[in-house]
């Protein structure tokens, strides 16, 4: 018997007809799930019922009628590349499963307003949950973006799961050299099957921003929990701060670049780079043996093992101004002696590391750990991977790490920004 079959389930006293559903949640074969004709699903303990096949099922695989789309003169051509996540997806109402939709047809059907803003072309690159993304996926995404720009797209939108959206935005910021137009990374915090999803507004706002003269990789997501404004964040300056709120993404140590309003207005908030007139290319060389390590009181044995396994670079997400406990110092020293590059960012997230203030910081700095200023730990990890893909000499790596490539590190700490405060109710 297969999922989708029409079956009859007999209990001791009653019989129920309906459609066999997929096993609930994780593989639990002890229960079977039945969709009754009234639309409700109910579960039976397999051992307590007998099941009879009434009719083999044909899982509804409805093909939608095509949606006529002719390019509109005067509208920008925006390419949408899908990598997974639920920002643009359709639901199988039978099983509740969510499938990505990326044909221009499907996108326009889901979010018809897109057709009024731009000529959309869509393509699915991957369909993965974003925590599973790998270095080589970023290389492919970068190449695909360059390809779409070469085909004439005036902006590119990347739909992406939100868990690692900021890693992707950061990595692409380094890989896309001489970028001459916007690359907008967008996701959804609330699934797109629900009428209240943030997906459509995020997507519409992203497409609007993808038509501006900005020449950076950015993240575009809800600014608050109202459906009225999206924030555009610099790709190297943004981080996910909330597990579920639609305003989970917040710029750190910097202001957002722009706001996109529901009515369509795009308002620039802080300066962004514009095209230098050169053609974009993808420089994707990376060192995969780079790790990101968070310290904690009494931390030990979390660096030595990486050194032993041949890691070339380690970003330490230390405490406070850039400290690691004594229990970790010997491992770090050994790593430095073996030529591993160490950079220090802070688990405070907000603010800048300074390894001169306390003795512990001075000791590590003198030993060779590089303080990374106001760079986010996640961004530092991406950057070190990319830098080590190009240079290996310690001095050169250190110089490259502190040289701003995509707005990821700055000398000035602004008086007027302190992250998520403005995003709260």
């Amino acid at each position: 018997m297969n999922v989708g079959d029409r079956i009859r389930v007999r209990t001791k006293e009653h019989a129920y007809e309906g459609i066999l559903m997929p096993s609930e949640g994780t593989a639990n074969e002890a229960y079977l799930a039945l969709k009754l004709d009234n639309g409700y699903n109910i579960g039976f303990l397999r051992a307590s019922v007998s099941v009879e096949l009434l009719e083999e099922g044909h899982m509804a695989n409805a093909t939608m009628p095509p949606c006529e789309i002719a390019p509109t003169l005067g509208l920008p051509d925006i390419a949408i590349l899908g990598t997974g996540g639920t920002v643009a997806s359709k639901i199988d109402y039978l099983t509740g499963a969510v499938y990505p939709s990326f044909s221009p047809d499907e996108l326009l059907r889901l979010v018809p307003e897109l057709g009024e803003i731009a000529n959309i072309s869509g393509r699915e690159l991957y369909s993965i949950v974003s925590e599973d993304i790998l270095q080589r996926d970023w290389e492919n995404i970068a190449q695909a973006i360059v390809g779409r720009i070469a085909e004439g797209a005036s902006g590119v939108v990347i739909t992406h799961g939100t868990d690692t959206l900021h890693f992707t935005a950061s990595m692409l910021s380094f890989m896309l050299r001489d970028l001459d137009r916007p690359v907008v990374c967008v996701g959804a915090q609330r699934s797109s099957d629900r009428p209240s999803s943030d997906a459509a507004f995020n997507l519409v706002s992203s497409v609007r921003f993808a038509a501006t003269d900005c020449a950076e990789v950015v993240v575009c997501m809800h600014a608050g929990i109202d459906d009225d404004v999206c924030h555009v964040h610099r790709g190297t300056r943004v981080r996910k701060f909330h597990t579920s709120r639609r305003d989970a993404f917040v710029s750190v140590n910097s202001l957002p670049l722009a706001r996109v309003y529901g009515a369509g207005r795009v308002e620039q908030v802080s300066p962004y780079r514009t095209s230098s007139g050169k053609d974009v290319y993808a420089d994707t060389s990376c060192e995969e043996r780079v790790s990101l390590v968070k310290t904690y009181p009494g931390a030990a044995d979390i660096v030595g093992a990486l050194v032993d396994r041949g890691y070339r670079g380690i970003i330490i997400e230390g405490s406070g101004l850039g400290h690691a406990p004594d229990t970790l110092h010997a491992e770090i020293r050994r790593g430095l002696e073996e030529g591993v590059f160490f950079g220090m960012a802070s688990q405070c997230v907000h603010g800048r590391v300074n390894m001169n203030v306390y003795r512990g910081g001075r000791v590590l700095k003198e030993a060779g750990v590089l303080p990374l200023g106001d760079m986010l730990a996640e961004t530092a990890w991406c950057k070190l991977s990319w830098v080590l893909g190009h240079v290996q000499d310690r001095e050169e790596v250190a110089r490259a790490m502190l040289l701003p490539v995509a707005g990821e590190v700055e000398d000035t700490s602004r008086l007027d920004v302190y992250g998520c405060r403005e995003a709260c109710l």
Binding site: Y40, P195, D227
Partner: protein, 616 residues
């Protein structure tokens, strides 16, 4: 008396009751609060069906730019019902209560409970869907008219409350959103209005037996589905009083019978259709005395409908009212030919209208006083309803009116779109768990009445009133702990029921206050119940505190006799002169000397005794 069986009456019930367990998918309380600390602005987007279709009405609303403002009070709402956080595990107390209700109704509990998402796009659910789960099937309800099957017992979320509509923005309060609701649906097999009432009562009592229902207005809502042979299914939505169910069914039967006879009349007259030719009649009313007409007047002939708009379909409601109800989506009202001349419209104006519309004596007409666009929509709606009359009874959702009549709300909705709620893991109801629920099932109210009557020797009627008030536990304590006479307990509950209508009284009965009263009940005279109870609820002190605050201190019988003797001593002359007749003039001074510390009945008995003693 109608022969309901001959009419082919079929009634089904869907009962919704709120559970007093806190919200279903978060840990917030579910009480109602009228203040708010936060307002969230949202848009709801119509989602695609399996076939890639979007409901045109939902899309239209979205395109119009309908916004929703959700008001929330901190402490009463969290991220879950702002749709900013996935649901927590289902409230275990609510699930337990559902299992109890299912077993009380002899239903089959499913082995695994699956929550579903039911798409609701009107904004009443922040997420755009309502979560609902089928917990049990195939229960039974008993009534003197026979047994009724209960196909489904569900656990679902209540919706947000609409506060107001400001232009394109609907303002909601989300305090009620997520309150667990029991939904019990019967099959449409009831065949007498009285049976619908009895079954509703039976189901209500089974739910109340769990002692987990919310109390108060609007916490139980009944939807009643009614049809007769040749008629159509009509859903009367949100009947809040049990007594009204019977009336609603009777009145709806009356309406369907009237509409069917109206159809037969139309067939007899050979009316085959309704044309919607809208005519501008504004010039005919340029000098009208009718204050409702401010400018444009548009009209339409209803050919062959002569005399029908005035025909009664329910007491006080005419077919013209039915036409008007459809037009009310656009205008405040219509005029129809059977009610004119009236409202300042003269016979001459009516004649002119008839002439312009070409409406003869066998025709009716309808007028709308509005701008052209609005008037057109209203008259089209009237024509649509008139066309439905050719079929007989339209499928409708109707709202109950206080007298049992009903009023059109909207056409019956189609099948709702439902798909699995993937954020909530199914709940396993193991045989062990079910056995544990079965072993500790609460008694049904009828059993409680019997137990109270038997145990405490009170009349069945008294026990019923106590159960009706949900005061069984309180009553048991009054007997076991405070030895309060049952009639005094009843008096106390009656007094509270009366006081609870005063402004500033708590929404829920404060049982701890009533218990404090019981603790000191011997010190309170019946006359002082109201004052003392009000004081207790207001200040929260003890009976002694209340008595002294009210200037009433309790007095012993000896004290009363001493006071009486004092008055008798001072009035020896009166007693000598009038003998037993002195009772009357002496009562006043005695009462005054006790200043309300004791009830008049006791005083008068003791005064009589003391006086008799002196005279003998």
């Amino acid at each position: 008396m109608r022969d309901y069986a001959a009419l082919g009456l079929r009634v089904g019930l869907e009962i919704h009751a709120q559970l007093d367990t806190g919200k279903l998918f978060c840990h917030c309380p579910s009480d109602l609060v009228d203040t708010h600390d936060a307002a969230i602005i949202r848009r709801l987007r119509p989602t695609m069906s399996e076939l890639g279709e979007i409901d045109p009405a939902a899309r239209e609303e979205f395109k119009k730019g309908v916004m929703h403002e959700y008001r929330a009070s901190l402490g009463h709402a969290c991220l879950v019902y702002a749709d900013e956080e996935p649901p927590h595990d289902p409230n275990p107390e609510a699930v337990h209560t559902l299992l109890q209700i299912a077993l009380l109704l002899d239903a089959v509990v499913v082995d695994s409970i699956h929550f579903m998402r039911k798409i609701v796009i009107d904004g009443s659910n922040v997420s755009g869907f309502q979560r609902t789960a089928l917990v049990a099937l195939d229960g039974v309800a008993h009534s003197a008219y026979g047994t009724v099957r209960i196909p489904t017992i569900c656990l679902e979320e209540d919706a947000a409350r609409l506060v107001e509509t400001k232009g394109q923005t609907r303002v909601w309060n989300i305090d009620r959103l997520g309150t667990p609701l029991v939904e019990i649906a019967t099959d449409p097999s009831m065949h007498h209005p009285r049976q619908a009432r009895d079954v509703a009562l039976f189901l209500g009592q089974a739910m109340k037996a769990t002692r987990r229902l919310k109390r108060g207005i609007g916490t139980i809502r009944q939807d009643v589905n009614i049809s007769i042979a040749g008629g159509a299914r009509v859903e009367v939505k949100g009947v809040q009083e049990l007594a009204l169910i019977e009336d609603c069914v009777e009145r709806e039967v009356e309406r369907q019978v009237a509409l069917l006879s109206l159809r037969d009349e139309l067939v007899k007259r050979g009316v085959g259709g309704v044309a919607c030719d809208i005519v501008d009649l504004s010039d005919l009313f340029s000098g009208t005395a009718c204050s409702i007409i401010k400018g444009g007047v548009f009209g339409m002939r209803l050919a062959g409908f002569g005399g029908l708009p005035g025909r009664e379909v329910q007491p006080g409601r005419r077919f013209g009212t039915e036409l008007a109800d459809y037009a009310k989506a656009y205008v405040r009202g219509i005029f129809h030919s059977d009610e004119l001349p009236r409202y300042g419209i003269t016979q001459a104006e009516v004649d002119a209208v008839r002439e312009r519309l070409g409406a003869g004596p066998s025709d009716a007409f309808v007028l709308v006083a509005e701008k052209k666009g609005v008037a057109k929509k209203a008259l089209e709606a009237v024509a649509y309803r008139a066309r439905l009359a050719l079929e007989g009874v339209p499928n409708e959702t109707r709202r109950p009116l206080p007298d049992g009549n009903t009023q059109f709300m909207r056409p019956l909705p189609g099948k709702s779109r439902m798909y699995p709620e993937t954020d909530v893991y199914p709940i396993r109801v193991t045989p062990e768990r079910l056995a544990a629920v079965r072993a500790s099932l609460p008694e049904l109210p009828a059993e409680t009445v019997r137990r109270l009557a038997d145990t405490y020797g009170i009349a069945t009627e008294t026990a019923e009133r106590i159960v009706d008030w949900d005061a069984e536990e309180l009553f048991v304590r009054s007997q076991e702990t405070y030895a309060m006479p049952p009639n005094r307990v009843l008096r106390l509950l009656e007094t509270y029921a009366m006081l609870s209508k005063e402004p500033g009284m708590p929404a829920e009965r404060p049982d701890e206050v009533l218990e404090r009263f019981m603790e000191g009940h011997e010190k309170v005279t019946v006359e002082a119940y109201e004052g003392v109870l009000r004081e207790l609820v207001r200040t929260g002190g003890s009976v002694d505190d209340a008595l002294s605050a009210l200037g009433i201190s309790s007095v012993s019988e000896d004290d009363i006799r001493a006071a009486i003797r004092g008055v008798l001593d001072a009035n020896a002359a009166v007693i000598a002169e009038r003998g037993a007749e002195a009772f009357k003039p002496l009562m006043g001074p005695v009462m005054a000397s006790l200043r309300g510390k004791c009830d008049g009945k006791t005083i008068s008995a003791l005064l009589r005794e003391e006086l008799d003693a002196r005279l003998s």
